[in-house]
């Protein structure tokens, strides 16, 4: 351990010299790994956002039951309806959301855009019965609700949820493929540049061996070089992705105010940690591979 701590300055200087002597290949490596990690960062972020949205929407799995106008006119009939809905197996709670509450909810959802509602003379929303149910029993509950007399129609968000789930799943699969591709290409790129560095420094390596330097001491600057290159690529990717995500958030906030996006800071932070640790691991593995492949020759 002392070998490393007391020589830290030397190792970094060696890496600096190696990068300087081969500036073009090294810059190209940082740039290409940066680009690869950027794609990874965007896919990971997309997957994360979609799975977060699915989580949120799933928790709010809601069923709204709209009643016939006939029944709505009669308060006791409405109360009776609510009671019989409560009696359905799987329904946990049911309550009436009246016109005013429905209106206020929409105002809250629209936020700044709520002014469009003032264009209506009358309250455009009708009252409905809101249900809380066991998610597993959503199908039989819906089945029974549609057969209930006095129910005009039933609205549920199963379809939206299903579509979101598909997107999240697709992004997950693509994400796994991309991680594999990123892993392979990064290790190949890094192991190549390390091999190049080793062959450029053959004489120096040989001299160090003649002076009795341990193999680990000789190899360490190369490991460090690979690590610094991928970390450089990672930093490039994270900055680029942070910029892109912030831009996309601004773009989406306007037309899609309903989507419960995770906070941008949380997303960028999580993505940054994943990309940076992956870049460090791949840099280490890549340079190790480069070292081993040279040693076996």
């Amino acid at each position: 351990m002392k070998l490393f701590s007391s020589n830290a300055g030397y190792f970094f200087k060696e890496v600096k010299t190696m990068i300087r002597l081969n500036l073009f290949s090294n810059s190209l490596t940082i740039f290409s790994t940066g680009l690869i990690f950027f794609i990874l960062a965007m896919i990971i972020s997309g997957w994360w956002v979609s799975s977060r949205v699915v989580d949120v929407v799933q928790k709010e799995a809601e069923i709204n039951v709209y009643l016939d106008d006939e029944i709505l006119k009669n308060n006791t009939a409405v109360i009776q309806m609510v009671e019989s809905i409560k009696g359905i197996e799987g329904v946990q709670a049911a309550r009436v959301v009246d016109q005013d509450e429905a209106y206020n909810r929409m105002v809250e959802i629209l936020g700044k855009e709520a002014s469009v509602l003032s264009k209506f003379d009358d309250n455009p929303f009708s009252s409905f019965v809101e249900l809380k149910i066991n998610l597993q029993e959503i199908d039989p509950v819906l089945e029974k609700l549609t057969h209930l007399v006095g129910v005009e129609h039933v609205r549920d968000n199963r379809e939206v949820l299903e579509r979101l789930r598909n997107i999240a799943e697709a992004l997950r699969v693509v994400g796994i493929l991309v991680v594999a591709a990123v892993g392979i290409s990064t290790t190949v790129i890094i192991s190549h540049i390390i091999r190049l560095g080793i062959s450029n420094n053959k004489e120096q390596i040989n001299t160090l061996r003649l002076l009795g330097a341990p193999e680990l001491f000789i190899a360490f600057p190369f490991l460090l070089e690979g690590l610094l290159l991928t970390i450089g690529g990672g930093i490039l990717a994270v900055s680029l992705a942070t910029f892109s995500i912030s831009y996309l958030y601004v773009q989406m906030a306007g037309p899609l105010p309903f989507i419960p996006l995770p906070p941008v800071k949380e997303l960028v932070f999580g993505m940054g940690i994943v990309v940076m640790s992956l870049s460090a691991v791949l840099g280490f593995v890549g340079s190790l591979l480069g070292l081993v492949s040279v040693n076996n020759h």
Binding site: K2, Q204, L210, G212
Partner: protein, 222 residues
């Protein structure tokens, strides 16, 4: 310190560079190896450093048997040797001081000792003022002295110097030989190959070995 019994070195192409040599070097010995070019002087030092292995015979250096298959122990052994290569083997793109310190970085020395040893060694070879020059900007003679400084700065138990005065003028050569001699008082053994027989100090305790076509043609013990 060194025990060679019936050692021969035959290269794959059939050249016999060392032929049936017996030799014993004790701590604090100063040994000059002289002989014409191609007589096997460099090959002998390569055997002592474990760059080549005896094809016949047995060789022991600082208690380590020099055999193939002992590579990691021989690597460790080299940390106790101060080698001066005929072609210097300095590391380009680095300064004189860095080259000298590089020979010590993996030895178990305290951090401050590194700079101090390097500084001392450079002073002894008269190159303090070049400490921060890049080695590729040095003359042959200066490069040779850096190589010598790198070897002695590590305070080795055994100095193996291959024609260390080959590129030096007389004053510098005498100065370097004096530097090597200062080590034998600390029980370091010094083996020097050289053409410059006229510089060899005969009055001091030293061994002289004459090589010819790979054999030890005669030997004079001091």
């Amino acid at each position: 310190m060194i025990k060679a019994k019936g050692v021969s070195l035959r290269f794959p192409n059939g050249t016999v560079a060392i032929n049936n040599i017996d030799l014993q070097v004790e701590p604090g010995d100063m040994v000059y190896v002289i002989g014409p070019s191609g007589s096997g002087k460099t090959s002998l030092l390569k055997l002592f450093m474990g760059i080549e292995y005896p094809t016949i015979g047995s060789l022991e250096v600082l208690g380590q048997q020099m055999d193939k298959g002992q590579t990691s122990r021989i690597r460790q052994l080299r940390t106790s040797i101060g080698p001066v290569f005929q072609e210097f083997k300095l590391i380009k793109g680095r300064t004189v001081a860095e080259n000298v310190m590089l020979g010590m970085r993996f030895l178990d020395l305290p951090q401050g000792q590194l700079k101090e040893n390097a500084h001392d060694a450079l002073a002894k070879v008269g190159l303090e003022h070049k400490a921060s020059s890049l080695v590729e900007n040095l003359s042959w003679g200066e490069s040779q002295r850096v190589a010598i400084a790198r070897a002695v700065a590590r305070k080795p138990l055994l100095i193996l110097a291959d024609e260390p005065t080959g590129n030096l003028d007389k004053d510098n050569a005498i100065n370097i030989l004096e530097l090597f001699k200062s080590f034998i008082d600390q029980k370091t053994s010094v083996i020097i190959t050289t053409h410059a027989t006229h510089l060899i100090d005969t009055e001091k305790h030293c061994k002289l070995i004459q090589m010819n076509k790979g054999t030890l043609s005669w030997e004079r013990l001091g």
